[in-house]
Symmetry: D2
Subunit: 371 residues, 4 copies
C-alpha cells in the first residue's frame, strides 16, 4: 500500500522561509473509519517520529485489503518547536511569544456548545451511529467558522492559526493518537479518558493515568471531550451510549531521545490497538494486557525545597513506600558554612514515573513524580 502524501504550509517565517506539516494517508479498500496519529507536538519529544516512521514502513508492506478505513500520520507536526534550540537542548515546549504550552492551545467544541442538552434530546430516538454522524457534522460546522475567522482576519496569533491546521486533519477521525514523551526521563505509559479503560488494554502498556481532571485545551482533550459530554447528556436522558470515538496520548520514554524499547513498545501497541479496533487485519492475534490505571490527581510531583544538586535519587520505575528516601539535595551556601545534605522522603506509596534530566535545582524546580 502506498500512502498519499499531502504537504501543508503552516508558517511563513520572518525570513520568508516556510515550514510545513506533511500527512501520510493510507487508504484501505473499505473506508469506514479513520485513525489520526501525530508526533512531536512538543519540541523535545521526538520519539514518536521513529514510531510513525516504522508504522509507515509497516503499513506500506500491507495489502489494501488489510486496512479497513484510513490512517493519517503526521510526524514532526510542529516544526517551530522541533527546530528550536537553546544551547544544545530542545527547548520548544512553549510558544516563545506568549509562554503557551503547545499542547494547551486547542479548540474544544464543548466549551462553546451551549445547547448540548437540547441537541441530545433531539437525538435520543436515533441509533448511535446516526447520532455520531449528526454530532460530527455539528462539530465540523462549528469548526468551519473557526477557519472563516482565521482566513478573514488580520490579527490571528500563530497559536490559533496552527491549531486550525492540526485539528482540521483529525476532527473527523474515530481514533486519535498523539505520541508524546516526557520532557525529562520517564517510563512508558498513556493517558486514558474515563469510560475508555477497556480499550486501553490494547496498547499493551503496564501503566496509565486516568484523566479525572483536565489540563485544559490539550490535543487529546479537545478531540474527545465534546463526545464524552454528549455521552453524559444522553445517559442523563436514559440512553447510555458509547461512540466509536477515542483519543489517546502515549508517553514513550524520555525527551530528546528515541529509546529503542520505547519505540518498539509504541509501534507494537498502536498496531495491536488498530487491529483491536478492526482497522487492521493482521496475522498476529489481537492481544489484551491489563493496565494499571492511576487517577491523574493522585500523581505526587516533588519540587526541590532547597536550591542545590540532586543526588542519590531513586530510579525510574522504583516502587517506593511512604517514608523512603527519594533523593538528597546537596546544598551549598554563601554564608560561610560547610555544604550540607538534605534528604527528601516519600509522602505516599507509589511508583517513580518521571525524573528530571537536570540534577541541578533552583528552589522550587521539578525533581520527580511518583504515581
Amino acid at each position: 500500500m502506498i500512502p498519499t502524501i499531502e504537504t501543508i504550509a503552516v508558517r511563513e517565517m520572518a525570513s520568508g522561509d516556510r515550514t510545513f506539516i506533511q500527512v501520510y494517508k493510507f487508504q484501505g479498500l473499505s473506508a469506514s473509519k479513520k485513525a489520526y496519529l501525530q508526533a512531536n507536538l512538543h519540541g523535545a519529544e521526538i520519539v514518536g517520529n521513529a514510531i510513525i516512521q516504522q508504522l509507515i514502513e509497516f503499513l506500506s508492506h500491507l495489502d489494501e485489503s488489510q486496512l479497513l478505513g484510513e490512517i493519517w500520520l503526521v510526524p514532526v507536526c510542529n516544526p517551530t518547536s522541533t527546530n528550536q534550540r537553546t544551547h544544545y537542548f530542545s527547548t520548544g515546549r512553549f510558544n516563545p511569544s506568549d509562554g503557551k504550552d503547545w499542547n494547551r492551545i486547542f479548540w474544544d467544541h464543548e466549551k462553546e456548545c451551549e445547547d448540548l442538552t437540547e441537541f441530545a434530546k433531539s437525538q435520543q430516538d436515533l441509533d448511535v451511529s446516526k447520532i455520531q454522524q449528526n454530532y460530527r457534522q455539528r462539530i465540523l460546522a462549528s469548526f468551519a467558522q473557526q477557519l472563516e475567522a482565521i482566513q478573514s482576519s488580520p490579527f490571528v496569533p500563530y497559536n490559533d492559526y496552527y491549531r486550525y491546521q492540526l485539528q482540521s486533519l483529525c476532527l473527523d477521525a474515530n481514533y486519535l493518537i498523539d505520541i508524546h514523551s516526557s520532557s525529562n526521563q520517564a517510563i512508558d505509559y498513556l493517558y486514558c479518558f474515563s469510560s475508555r479503560e477497556e480499550s486501553a488494554k490494547a496498547f499493551l502498556l503496564d501503566y496509565g493515568l486516568l484523566m479525572n481532571e483536565y489540563d485544559g485545551d490539550a490535543f487529546d482533550e479537545a478531540f474527545l471531550k465534546p463526545w464524552l459530554a454528549l455521552e453524559t447528556e444522553l445517559a442523563n436522558l436514559g440512553k447510555p451510549v458509547q461512540f466509536d470515538v477515542e483519543s489517546w496520548t502515549l508517553e514513550c520514554g524520555g525527551g530528546m531521545q528515541m529509546q529503542p524499547e520505547s519505540v518498539a513498545k509504541g509501534v507494537r501497541g498502536i498496531q495491536n490497538y488498530l487491529a483491536a479496533k478492526g482497522m487492521l487485519k493482521l496475522e498476529t492475534p489481537i492481544q489484551q494486557q491489563p493496565i494499571h490505571l492511576v487517577p491523574k490527581n493522585r500523581l505526587q510531583r516533588y519540587y526541590a525545597p532547597r536550591g542545590g544538586m540532586i543526588q542519590h535519587r531513586v530510579g525510574l520505575g522504583t516502587e517506593v513506600k511512604k517514608g523512603d528516601r527519594l533523593y538528597q539535595i546537596l546544598c551549598f551556601n554563601k554564608i560561610g558554612k560547610l555544604p550540607e545534605t538534605v534528604d527528601i522522603y516519600a509522602i505516599s506509596d507509589g511508583v517513580v514515573l518521571d525524573i528530571a534530566t537536570n540534577q541541578a535545582a533552583n528552589q522550587g524546580e521539578y525533581v520527580l513524580t511518583v504515581m
Copy 2:
C-alpha cells in the same frame, strides 16, 4: 519619616546564593489604612522601580503626621525575572520551567470560597466596616492554610512559594498598586475594575482599560476579586455596599526602559491617589482627571498574517479610523520571486495603545494593539 526596611529571602538558587525581596514600610501616626505598592513583577518592566524609589524619597521627606496609615513599597519584587537575560534582553516574563506568566500565578480566594452566599447573609445586618473586617479575617485565615501547606510540604513548585511571599505582604491592604509597563512600547494607562471607575480619576491618566473579563490569577485580580464577589452577593441581598478596598495595575510606558515622562506621571498619579484616599496630607490640592475607559474585551490585537518585516507602522497614541493603514509587511520569499509588501488596515476605530518593539515578525507574531 524613615521607613522600616524588611528583607525576606525568597529563593535559594542551585549555587547556594539567595535572592530576596525588600519591603520599605512607612508608618504614619495613625494606622488606619494600608497601601501596598510593588514593581517589576515581569522582568522587562523596570519603570516602576524608579517610581517607587522616587516615592520612597518623597515619603522620607514627609512628616509622620502627613501619613495616615502605612505604605509598604516593594521594588524589584521578582529577582528571578529581573535578572534573567537572553542576549541583551530581559526575557523574564515567564517561569522558564512551566511557561507560566509570573502575573498569572496568584491565589484567588474567590475560587475556593464556596459558601460566600451564606457568609453574605450572615453579615447583612452589620455595617460596612465591620463586614470588611470580618471578611478580611476569613481571607487571612484561608491564606494561612496556604502557608501551612507550603511549610510542611516537600513538593512545592516555586510559583506557589513565591506567590505566598508576595501575597502575605498585601492581603491586609486597602489599596494595592502593581506597577507594570508594556513588554513592548506603550502609552501610559491603567487597568480599572468595574465599580472603581470614580477612583481611577485620581491617577491623572488619559486612558484606562475597564476589566470586563479577567486574565485569571493576576496579582490585582487575586486581591480584589473576592471583595467584588462579596459586594455582588450583598447587592443581591438588597444591601449594596462598596468596601474601602481597591486594586490597580498601572502601565507606565515601554519595557526595558524608564521613560522620564512615564516615571513622572506614575509618581504624580500615585501621590494624588493616596491623597485622594485620605492617606496623605499634602499641600498641593487633590486633583481629578476624566479618564477614557475602554472595555478590555474591545482591545483589538493585530498579529502578522505573513512573515516579514514591519514598516510604515502608525505611532503610539495615533487615532486610527477603520480602513486606515496600520502598517506594512515587507515579505521576502524563497521561491524565486521579488519581495512584496502587504498593507494591513484597521478593522475598527481606536487609539494605538501598544506596539511591538521587534519589527521582525514570524507569521502570527504580535504587531500592535488598538484600544
Copy 3:
C-alpha cells in the same frame, strides 16, 4: 531591468523543513565588475532588508545600459538567526550550539596563505589588473578546497557549511557591502578599512570607524584582508598598488527596527557609492561627503559597575566631554538599606555612538559606547 533570482538551500532542519538564501542578480550590458550586498546576518539587524528591497526596486527601474557590471543582493541572508525568538525578541546573534557570533565565522584566505611573499615577488612585474586577476584565481582555488572538504565530510558543523554558502557568492566581487545595525540603538556609521578612506566619502555618512584592529573572521574582514595583505607585500617590494576591491560594513541605526531615516541614508549612500565606482550611470551627480573616521580602538565602551537600572542617560549622538555625567545607576539592595543612585562620568571626550536598548543592567552588562 529584471533580476535573475537564484534560490539556494542552506539548511535542513530537524523537522525536515529547509531554509534558503535567495540571490537577486542584476546584470548590466557590460560585465566588468561585481558588487555583492547582503543583509541580516545577525538576527536582530533587519534594517538592511528594507534597504535591499528598495535597491531591488530601484535597479528594476534602471535600463541595462545604466548598470556596468553585475550586482548581487541577498536579503535575510541568515534564516536561522532571523527567525530565532526568545520571548518577543530577536536573539539570533550567536549560534546557539557553540556561542559563535554569526559574524566571526568566515574563511580568511590570509590566514592560510603562507607563501604570500613569494607570490608577491612573482607578480611584481605585472600590471595591477593582471595581479588582481591572478590573485583572485588563487583565492578561488583555495576556497574550492573548502567546498571539497565540506562535500566529502560527515562532520561539518553548520558554521562551516553556512560560511561556504555565503562566501561562494561574493569572493569574485569587487565591492562587498554587508548591511548591519546595532543590536541596541545606534547612529548610522560604517566600518572603513585602512587605505579605503577616500572611498568612504561616497557613502554620505557623518561617521565611520577606522579598523586599526580586527575582530577576526568577520565577513568584511575575511573578504578584504587577503587583498590588503598583498598590497602590503607589494608595497614592501617597492610597488605600491591599490586593487579595485573594497569591503564595507554599514551600520544603519538600531536593532529590531527599520528606522525610515536609516533606510533612506543607506539606500542613498549605496546608490552614490556604486555610481562613484562607475557601476551605475545615474542622472544625479556623484557626491562626496567628508566623513569623520575614528580609530576603532579608541571606542570607549561603558559597562555597568553596579547592578541596577540605568537612568538619565545621555542620548545618541551627544557630544560629551571628559567628566560629563553619562548616566546614573539606580541601585537597589537586599541588605536593608535605602536605594541609592550612582553617577557615571565620561573618562574621555567623544560622541555617543551606541546605547543599550535594555536599561536594566546586571553588574558588568553593557550600557553605552562613546566614539
Copy 4:
C-alpha cells in the same frame, strides 16, 4: 581539620541581589605548597560540586599533620551560569551578553610577557625553586595591574571582573584542578599538558587528551601556559627544568548530572594525585595507572550532515573501526516523499568519547566525538 571559609561577592544583579563565591581553605601544619580546585564553571557541569563536597568531608577528617601545605576548594564557582535555565535545562555555557564561553575568558600572562627571553636569561644561573619564586612574583605583579584597571574603571564587562575574582585565588598555587564534565554525555578523562604526562598517571583514569593545541584563554591554559613558556625558554638556553606547577581539567562524565561512578573516580583520583605530589599523607599507598593519552587534534567530531533524528548510535566508550556505522539519521522532508534513513560511518578508528544528549539534530549540529 576545620577549613577557613571565605565568602567573596562576585556580582551585583539588576535586582540588587548579589552572588558570591565561597572558598574552603584547608591549612596544614607546614605551608609549603598550594592546591586550588574549583567546580561548575560551566552551568551544566555540576558533577565537580559533589566531588568537592566529598573532598571537604575527607579533608575535615584528616589531622593537620597529614596536610603539607594548603588546599583551597571552590564549588559552584560561577553562580550566573549555574542558576541559568531555559525550560528545564542548564544552558549556562556562554555569557548571554557576548556569547563568550565562560571557560575562554581568562588572563594569560604569556600573551603580554614580551620580554620572557630576557627574563629567562637573567634567571639561568639560579636554581629552579628560586626561578619559580621570581617568576611567580612577576606573574602576580602583572596581575595586580589587572586589578587596578578593574577597580579604577567604570567600564569593565563582567567577564573581566569575574576572571579577576577567580584567578586572584589561584595564581600562587602549585596545582590547579578545574573539574568539568561534558555538556552532553561522556566518559571520564582529563586534559593533560605536554611535559606533565607522568603526573597524569596519578589521576587513575583510563583516558586523557594531550593538549597539542590550545582553545585559548581556558582556565587551565591561562594558569600553566606562562610556566611552560618559561620552561621552553630555559631549555633553549640549555637549562631544561620543570617547575613544580601543574594544571588539570578533569572531565567527569555527563552534564546536568552527578553520576556516582564519575564522582567516586574524581574523588579517588584527586586524593591520589595530591598524595603523589606530597601534599597528603595517607595510609593508602600512592597508586599509578597508565593513561591512554590521545593528541587533542586527533579528536574527530561528527556533526549531522542532514537534519533529522539520531538513532542506532554507538554507545559511549565503544571502540569503532573506520567504516563502522556510527549512527543513523532519520530524515523527514516536506516535499511529499517518504521518510528516509541515512547511515553515517566512522572515517577513522577510535573510542567514542562523547555523545550528544539531544538526538534531534538540525543540519550541522553536534552528534558525537571519537577519540
